[in-house]
Symmetry: C2
Subunit: 359 residues, 2 copies
């Protein structure tokens, strides 16, 4: 099944398998007949000893801006657990910085300042050269591909709505009421803000792919607080615009919406390959709503606090429930939590890889 070839790069002279033959990429196109691919949202994160060691010496933002460290923390968990895809270590918020925001990370979560509380502030945002200002990210992508050329690498960005949530609220929130109020009261400026973020995001993801990313994921962390019509108007149209702009690059495009269930019927026609499903929604139901698409998900990360045998059982229960497997990428249904034992992650990966449909 795996074809080896020589990748046309002076830096990579060894024989490497074609990324397109990986279980991850094949599953994105609904054509995986091998074992199930698995990766974990936030797989390079605080639960990992190697990550915590790196963070003893650098702040979160310094880490994001140091390509060699980005490559190290991105590849460490892949090497340790045998994940079938790597995901660029970065954060969704730094692309806001050159627009005129200060992004800081504290224990209580990130803050973005100044928060947009008056509609006029949208006009004051700066256009900027993404290739230049975000070059540390693209250098990071290249450094990762040097280390693990044969593992599919996901680039990513936050969805425009999710980034706008932080830009308007200034920090995380349970319900982002001030964001809704702003968008209901100032539809023109809201569209302008979402459009500006969309434009930056398109170049940002295009450049990640050009630097070596083999797939891209759009993280829509906060749309799950919207009514259906507002989801369509404030979020979906911008995700669609981004995906259309990436289509010609021919890499799988993944949309993860945290709390996707209320909107799943709207995602049937979005031009992307994979829908990431959060832990709440039944994965088989999601698949049935999305003919022609792959699905990614969706074990509740809290299950990784269970005893190892129970983790295995719940992985089997989730996968055993599915009528198709060729279009499934296994993941958690939310980012992994900081104090989950590494042993449980290994168990999770092992059980996914061991899973075979009993016929």
């Amino acid at each position: 099944m795996t074809i080896t070839t020589e990748k046309g790069s002076a830096e990579i002279s060894t024989m490497v398998p074609l990324i397109g033959d990986s279980s991850f990429i094949k599953a994105c196109y609904g054509k995986n007949e091998g074992r199930l691919p698995v990766w974990v949202m936030r797989q390079a994160g605080r639960y990992l000893a190697e990550y915590r060691a790196v963070r003893k010496n650098v702040s979160f933002l310094e880490l994001c801006k140091t390509p060699e460290l980005v490559a190290k923390v991105t590849t460490d968990p892949v090497n340790k657990f045998g994940f079938d895809a790597a995901i660029l270590f970065s954060d969704i918020l730094p692309i806001l910085e050159p627009m005129g925001f200060t992004v800081t990370y504290e224990s209580g979560g990130p803050t973005v300042a100044p928060a947009i509380r008056r509609p006029e502030m949208v006009n004051e945002l700066s256009a900027y050269d993404v290739r230049d200002k975000m070059s540390y990210v693209f250098e990071g992508v290249r450094a990762i591909k040097k280390r693990i050329p044969d593992v599919p690498l996901l680039g990513f960005a936050g969805s425009p709505f999710t980034l706008a949530c932080y830009a308007i609220e200034g920090h995380g929130s349970k319900t982002f009421d001030s964001v809704k109020q702003f968008m209901y009261c100032h539809p023109k400026e809201s569209a302008q803000l979402l459009e500006a973020i969309t434009e930056v995001t398109i170049v940002y993801l295009q450049e990640q792919v050009k630097a070596g990313a083999d797939a891209v994921q759009l993280f829509d962390s906060w749309s799950g607080i919207l009514a259906v019509n507002e989801y369509r108007e404030w979020s979906l149209v911008y995700s669609e615009k981004i995906f259309k702009a990436l289509k010609s690059l021919s890499v799988p495009r993944i949309l993860f919406v945290n709390n996707v269930s209320p909107y799943i019927h709207l995602l049937r026609d979005i031009d992307c390959e994979v829908i990431g499903v959060d832990y709440r929604m039944d994965l088989e139901l999601a698949m049935n709503e999305l003919p022609g698409k792959a699905v990614q998900g969706n074990l509740d990360p809290n299950i990784l606090y269970c005893p190892q045998a129970e983790i295995r059982e719940r992985v089997r229960a989730m996968l055993g429930n599915l009528t198709r497997l060729d279009n499934v990428i296994v993941n958690l249904g939310h980012g992994i939590l900081p104090d989950i034992p590494e042993e449980s992650v290994a168990t999770f990966v092992d059980e996914v890889h061991a899973f075979r449909r009993e016929v």
Copy 2:
């Protein structure tokens, strides 16, 4: 349409319309042919001048425990806005007090102490006589019925899972991770806790109905953070048990699940009359999933920050989208927010009452 009769109570000697002929009760049974009934979750709350005036002199918990004040704050918004149902002013947490918890209300939200962090603590909870310890609630119900005998009155309780969330976490949370971890790790004690709360809740709601409540609503505020199987196991079975125990009382039973979409297919068969739908889910889709049931919802409360003309337009858009109206109770899709203008509430009610299907 409205039949007047003499209610068989010495306290009510005036001629009053049959509650069963009200648009609210008829809609619960899918038989409303008149104008649409409307009420609002938290309609007796801080957005209301009369409520804020009462709260200048008493704490939240004192208010809950003073039947005459309960009757005043319950009936004020009904008299002011012409809501088609009243809902008992109270909170979901006080029934935890006699079990051995201290419930306090501060600006950051309620706290329940001691939080259950060790499974053994479940065994230390006290059984108690609900009729005695919660008598202030039932007196409140009787006092309300004296003031507005011809308006349907909803009694309510929190769902066992939602109450267990507070009992285990000790306070509100975005994701209640510690609750999930407790329930995954201690299934036996979790079931015991949920069962204990269920038993109390059954008597609590039965007594509310006996005191005069014409319908009951179970508020499941936090199940929306659960995977489907956990929703079934940790929440739905207890809601079902409560509803079964209330069946013989022949009052409409309403289940409100905040973020109901991932579980809506499981609610098709639950033995109750009405499903309350949060603002996220398309109301017509919900209705289609629930043949034989009424639906209640579901405008995003943030829409009440919009200009009045826009509020009216969004109400018409929501209702105009529905293929049936005889089983619809209009509400917000979440509790009303404290700084929403009263004018907007009046507009909302007025537009619902003015709505007629254009044939």
